[in-house]
């Protein structure tokens, strides 16, 4: 009986938030606040980044403090492709001539691939370690990338790159905020659905087992490294897609997108919402960005309040907002 009521609460929460998000552009128009649409696009994009981090953090137990690297690299992929397309120069001129592109059908999959590839390299190195080492190493590699782009004068260095316009998609006008919003919503929905299947599949079971005890998994015969690496790569690819979207939303990319504080903020979103739930991070992203929006109306120094709030969350509300809404799941740890 208890299980059932918990299940219902969860379903009700998810359905009602999905409905709210689906109707949001309409509500925003009714309320005369069209600005809300772009704020919520931003929320959806960060929700995607946070949910992808939840795959490795919440399910895999891997505390990566470098997730913004993949977010940033996805954004830069879109930015660089658009830059060459606009300047009509070659992305690569030898041995093949490869031009830039402003098509979402090209740029977004490439963004996913590039960030997944990067995740494979960073993951292969950092997954050799665990615990505190892993945290510091993912952080360090992400910072390396940050400094790399800062020093990359050809693509704007510190100042970043401005996009001439948003990417194109056949039959859609992404320049229109509402259409762009629905594209973000659809992609987030698709990711949540696929990731939801993933964590319950055999693969997901292995990942969840690794979170509990990697050694025990190995003693059952699982070569855990490969599974964790693939999970890291999948999460990296999804973060890359989120990056591609953020580049489109603000039509600007800069190294700041992959600064370690951005990684930390994505992590905050996951924990604020509740890790290991996929939907929690969506809630966390919304809560964080809305809170930032509201608090900064009252004071420019909102962080001086938000910092202690985070400490209180750690000490007293470990299950996050989703845990509070849905009811704490009857699990250990």
């Amino acid at each position: 009986m208890h299980m059932l009521s918990q299940f219902n609460r969860k379903t009700i929460c998810i359905i009602s938030s999905a409905l709210l998000l689906a109707l949001l552009p309409m509500l925003a128009t009714l309320a005369g606040e069209p600005y809300l649409v772009s704020l919520f696009s931003r929320i959806l994009i960060y929700a995607l980044a946070a949910a992808s981090l939840d795959l490795i953090l919440g399910y895999g137990g891997l505390v990566s403090l470098g997730h913004a690297a993949f977010f940033g690299i996805g954004a830069y992929t879109v930015g660089i492709l658009a830059h060459h397309d606009f300047e009509e120069t070659a992305l690569i001129s030898w041995p093949l001539f490869i031009p830039g592109s402003d098509s979402g059908l090209v740029a977004w999959p490439v963004a996913i691939l590039v960030s997944a590839l990067l995740a494979a390299i960073i993951g292969a190195l950092s997954l050799r370690t665990r615990g505190m080492h892993f945290i510091m190493i993912t952080l360090a590699f992400a910072q390396m990338l940050f400094f790399f782009f800062v020093s990359l004068e050809g693509y704007g260095g510190d100042d970043g790159l401005t996009l001439f316009s948003r990417n194109t998609l056949p039959g859609l006008d992404l320049g229109d905020d509402v259409q762009f919003y629905y594209v973000c919503l659809a992609l987030l929905g698709a990711f949540l659905f696929l990731a939801g299947r993933l964590v319950e599949s055999r693969f997901g079971m292995v990942i969840r087992g690794c979170r509990e005890s990697e050694k025990r998994m190995q003693s059952l015969g699982f070569p855990t490294f490969r599974y964790k690496l693939l999970c890291f790569v999948i999460a990296g690819g999804a973060a890359g897609l989120a990056g591609a979207l953020i580049a489109n939303q603000v039509e600007y990319v800069s190294p700041g997108l992959m600064h370690w504080t951005r990684s930390a903020i994505i992590l905050v979103m996951v924990l604020l919402g509740g890790s290991g739930t996929l939907y929690g991070p969506v809630l966390g992203a919304a809560a964080f960005l809305l809170l930032e929006e509201v608090l900064s109306i009252y004071t420019e120094h909102w962080m001086v309040y938000f910092g202690p709030v985070m400490i209180l969350v750690v000490l007293f509300a470990r299950h996050g907002l989703f845990g509070i809404l849905v009811g704490k799941e009857n699990r250990h740890g």
Binding site: H133, I135, M136, L139, A140, S151, L271, V314, G333
Partner: protein, 304 residues
């Protein structure tokens, strides 16, 4: 050649600053098993306090004398109020809470001191330069920084090898249960170690004050370098931190100074500078990656 020696000294100076930062933090990691992102905040606090006191009194030494106990006391308070509650929590909680501390301290300094960076003058008695090696003048202040750093290293070495408290700390770093079984007052020890760490971070901040701009967020850039040092040296090992700090200081400084010339031998100069800048900015991370592949636990891990 002149340039080379000067750059070696610059590398040494960065190295000892990193050592001051990492010596305390690696102990906090090793002994309390807590990941503390807020260590850079104490570097910042040290710099701000020293800059303010120096500006008011006109005495750098007074600034130093106020800043050191101030960071140590603030550090111990933070340990007692926040960190202590995190020891038994998961790493991810520690990350979140100490990130909260960073946000708090950064914003607090903005409220108190504003958004404009403060500048600290080199004290007049250290403002000249000396020829340590004949024909190579080098700023006295920087030499003083190197000297202080090396003295602290010596002091820590003696403390860990010759004194009771030092050995207790080392026992705690390599085996917590054992230290507890030996009847060491763990709680007090933790607070003291944390205070020592923040004092050293404060010292690093004070000394960086006249060289860098004192501003909110200054702690974070050095924090990441400190992490690289700790990963290279091995968590919990002060000796590892010393070696790691010097390595990182040298590789970073020499990379920035000499990679452009090196790359100009192969590439056109416009290209060479760009590539060199990129590679130099990544050099210490590449160093870290190589060491990780070779020894995932760092050069001198405390727990083996």
């Amino acid at each position: 050649m002149l340039l080379f020696i000067e750059q070696i000294l610059n590398g040494l100076q960065l190295g000892v600053t990193l050592f001051l930062m990492s010596a305390g933090l690696t102990l906090v990691f090793g002994i309390m098993q807590v990941i503390n992102l807020a260590h850079g905040s104490f570097y910042m606090i040290g710099a701000y306090v020293a800059a303010t006191v120096t500006a008011l009194s006109g005495s750098f030494l007074l600034g130093l004398a106020v800043a050191l106990p101030a960071t140590a006391v603030i550090g111990m308070l933070v340990e007692a109020i926040v960190l202590r509650r995190l020891y038994k929590k998961e790493h991810v909680d520690q990350v979140l809470a100490t990130f909260g501390l960073i946000m708090f301290f950064n914003e607090l300094t903005r409220i108190i001191w504003g958004r404009q960076p403060l500048f600290m003058d080199v004290p007049s008695w250290l403002s000249g330069s000396v020829e340590l090696i004949p024909g190579i003048p080098y700023p006295s202040y920087r030499i003083a920084v190197i000297g202080v750093g090396l003295l602290v290293a010596l002091f820590l070495y003696l403390m860990f090898t010759r004194t009771r408290i030092g050995m207790q700390i080392r026992a705690g770093a390599s085996n917590r249960e054992m230290a507890g079984a030996l009847g060491i007052n763990i709680r007090l020890l933790y607070t003291l170690v944390f205070g020592l760490g923040t004092l050293l971070a404060g010292l690093a901040g004070v000394m960086a004050g006249p060289i860098l701009a004192v501003e909110a967020g200054m702690g974070e850039s050095i924090l990441i370098l400190t992490f690289v040092v700790i990963v290279i040296g091995g968590i919990g090992s002060v000796r590892g931190a010393f070696i790691g700090a010097l390595l990182v200081g040298m590789v970073d400084t020499l990379g920035r100074a000499f990679l452009p010339a090196l790359f100009r031998m192969f590439l056109s100069s416009a290209h060479a500078d760009g590539v060199a800048a990129s590679v130099a900015s990544m050099s210490i991370y590449i160093l870290m990656a190589i060491i990780l592949i070779w020894r995932p636990q760092g050069l001198l891990p405390a727990h083996s």
